[in-house]
Symmetry: C2
Subunit: 302 residues, 2 copies
């Protein structure tokens, strides 16, 4: 985010928005009688990954969550997840993906005990999300389900940007949204949730578009150009440097633009066409993960 | 398989081997007091897929299993799986993949109730397989777990070829195996099972090799050429027409060669170097799926 924009919209820096949630979480954790313990598994030696891992550890510790960062070989991870699942003194598990960069990563994600799945990426939670089931354990309405961290982070950033009101029944009623990404942990849950909240969502992946309305997908023939020009909100998450970045000329003036990929998916000129451009959500994702940790602890471990 | 080979090894035609299992299954089904009902979901219009779907339906019906083949749109599949999961009159679910050709297919595979998962591709069964847990329900030792159909079909073909004895404790002790494919439904389970049975397994995927011994993987640096020349058994399952096919000059004379991809992964000249070349296992996969259907019915539905 450039300087002028940051001045104009101080609330749209994901770091600043995250701080508000982190402060709430910190206060709530102080009221707990027991200590929350999380284990984070990293199977990579590369510096950016290690830096990110150490930063998350620090963030968790700042709110009073004990966070063990464990470096291991990728082939040790499966056994370690099972061990952590069975360890009563561990309340949350975090995995720094990608590990194998294939189908096995999905297997590992699903292997995490749902009661400790602070990223909420395992099948138990995904199934609940797609079924619009907001309760963690059926019949126990005081136990709320957890939601995958990045989609939740995006919704909270949209709330901070004023385009999303959490108090309305259909907070994005009539809004048109384009999302580039239909993964099972981010793009599809996000499309389902936003369409459930009233939006008409064009969801693109490499195989083409789908239209989500009222949490249900439908086949549609629409070009990228048509979808973008239609949209009030554009959300990108394509981890591919060859993705053709969204440029200013492709969007309506004032379109809300959010990128959650580690690659920039918008051209630099995008800010000439909109005041609300959020180039990353990382800090919010970590905050939402901490929020999930607290929720799972209350639901299952105390 | 060519004519001369078929004469020499009548038992190595997957169709003929399958017939023996099918006959056993048919007899066992006749002893049941209730009727087994399976639903197969196909979301494709293309002729080869439809032909295959109709052929499986026919095979199931020949052994006395009721088989409803349901054509639907891909976007209807999720709800239909959930409906079939909840339908007490349906005992088995079969899905003709690929559907979305992305991560969502794994989600759908895992969505199938494990008690009805006749392909044994969902997480419940995969976890059991990797843990070498042979019992379907812990504590109930008379209820045997089901195993993914294609790896099972391959093991049965190796048994028919005489290189695998089911009665020994380590039936492939000391054997060296190369497998091209490390998917969660075929390649990895197969590597785990064969290494559990005593083999040393080189497992290749696009990211390189792993070595499986005693059901555990290890990092290894070995070239395709070295692995192949070392191997007693070579198993291929690469659904990519650009895969460099394994040729006669790459294997030891007499190597057992099996391909389970729909693409030919061996050069035609392979038969000059080995008498045991099994170019497809399809009919055996269907037979093993029927075997699983019967087993799940006995375990959970009667």
């Amino acid at each position: 985010m450039n300087q002028s924009l940051q001045k104009q919209y101080p609330d749209l820096d994901p770091g600043s928005v995250a701080e508000q949630y982190i402060e709430e979480i910190r206060k709530e954790i102080q009221t707990l009688s027991a200590r929350i313990r999380v284990i984070g598994f990293i199977a990579s030696d590369d510096l950016p990954s290690l830096t990110y891992a150490r930063a998350t550890k620090q963030k968790f510790e700042q709110v009073g969550i004990e966070y063990e960062l464990k470096s291991l070989k990728r082939l040790e991870l499966e056994d370690e997840i099972l061990r952590a699942n069975g360890d009563r003194d561990i309340h949350g598990i975090f995995i720094y993906f990608p590990i194998f960069r294939n189908e096995q990563d999905i297997y590992l994600r699903n292997l995490v005990d749902y009661k400790k799945d602070i990223e909420a990426g395992s099948l138990y939670w995904t199934k609940k999300l797609y079924a619009n089931d907001r309760v963690a354990v059926s019949g126990e309405t005081d136990k709320k389900a957890v939601i995958p961290c990045t989609p939740l982070a995006i919704l909270k950033m949209l709330t901070a940007a004023g385009v999303y009101s959490e108090n309305e029944k259909k907070p994005v009623d009539g809004k048109i949204v384009t999302i580039f990404n239909r993964s099972e942990v981010i793009g599809r849950p996000l499309a389902v949730m936003m369409s459930n909240d009233g939006a008409k969502v064009y969801s693109f992946d490499v195989n083409g578009p789908l239209l989500f309305e009222n949490a249900k997908p439908a086949e549609i023939e629409i070009s990228r150009e048509e979808a973008l020009m239609d949209s009030d909100i554009v959300i990108t998450g394509v981890p591919d440097k060859y993705f053709r970045k969204v440029s200013a000329s492709e969007i309506k003036p004032g379109t809300v633009c959010i990128n959650f990929s580690t690659y920039p998916n918008f051209e630099d000129d995008i800010e000439t066409h909109t005041d609300i451009y959020i180039p990353r959500v990382g800090p919010m994702t970590v905050a939402m993960c901490m929020r999930n940790t607290l929720r799972l602890f209350r639901n299952f471990h105390c």
